[in-house]
């Protein structure tokens, strides 16, 4: 029977897998230009991959930080600690990670690779930055309400 606990466990597993993928991606990145098949697609163009590599690496760091925060948050949620200060702080960190991604991608689009895809991902990152900040504010308000409820005797 599917329940909330299993759902959280699935989220933890998916987040763990995403962390592993980011680490693998970063480790195997230098090999991509050599392994890329010459099929004419820009995504497999070794010159493009080499040009995009600093951006990929710069994006890996905030992505990893955000995923680790997400993992710790999910572990806390599994323990029943949802509306706690630590989760609010983690959401704040995650939102700033998205802002960092937004800045990195915008700078890449302006100075290195002018690609609509990169601009789109940058806009999406900026949107997620705002979205997660709102969620953070909601969780913080809920934490205050819960604290007040817990300390009403």
């Amino acid at each position: 029977m599917w329940n909330n606990r299993k759902s959280i466990l699935l989220s933890i597993v998916c987040t763990g897998a995403a962390i592993l993928l980011v680490v693998l991606f970063a480790a195997l990145m230098p090999l991509f230009p050599r392994l890329a098949p010459a099929d004419g697609s820009i995504l497999f163009d070794p010159a493009y991959l080499k040009k995009a590599m600093p951006t990929f690496y710069a994006c890996c760091l905030p992505a990893l930080v955000a995923l680790l925060c997400l993992l710790r948050m999910l572990i806390d949620i599994r323990r029943g600690n949802v509306f706690v200060k630590a989760n609010v702080s983690r959401l704040r960190v995650i939102s700033w990670c998205f802002f960092a991604l937004f800045v990195i991608l915008i700078l890449t689009a302006v100075f290195r690779i002018t690609s609509p895809a990169i601009i789109l991902v940058a806009i999406a990152s900026g949107f997620f930055f705002l979205l997660i900040r709102v969620v953070k504010n909601v969780i913080d308000a809920a934490r205050e309400l819960r604290e007040e409820h817990d300390f009403t005797i």
Binding site: E148, T152, I153
Partner: protein
Amino acid sequence: MDIVVNLDVMMAKRKISSGDLAARIGITPVNLSVLKTGRAKAIRFSTLEAICRELDCQPGDILEYTPEEPAEPP
């Protein structure tokens, strides 16, 4: 906070232990401790009523308003 809880004073006057009072008013000793130490954010009328009944006192004997002195400007 400007509200001081004098529950321990009244309990000492009535010679009643925390565990005993908690059991009589129907709250946990942990919550009574929260109330006694001034960490509580609010108190229900039902709890206040039960405390006043068991300690035979008025709400003013338990709660006291003492304004905090404003901080000195730097």
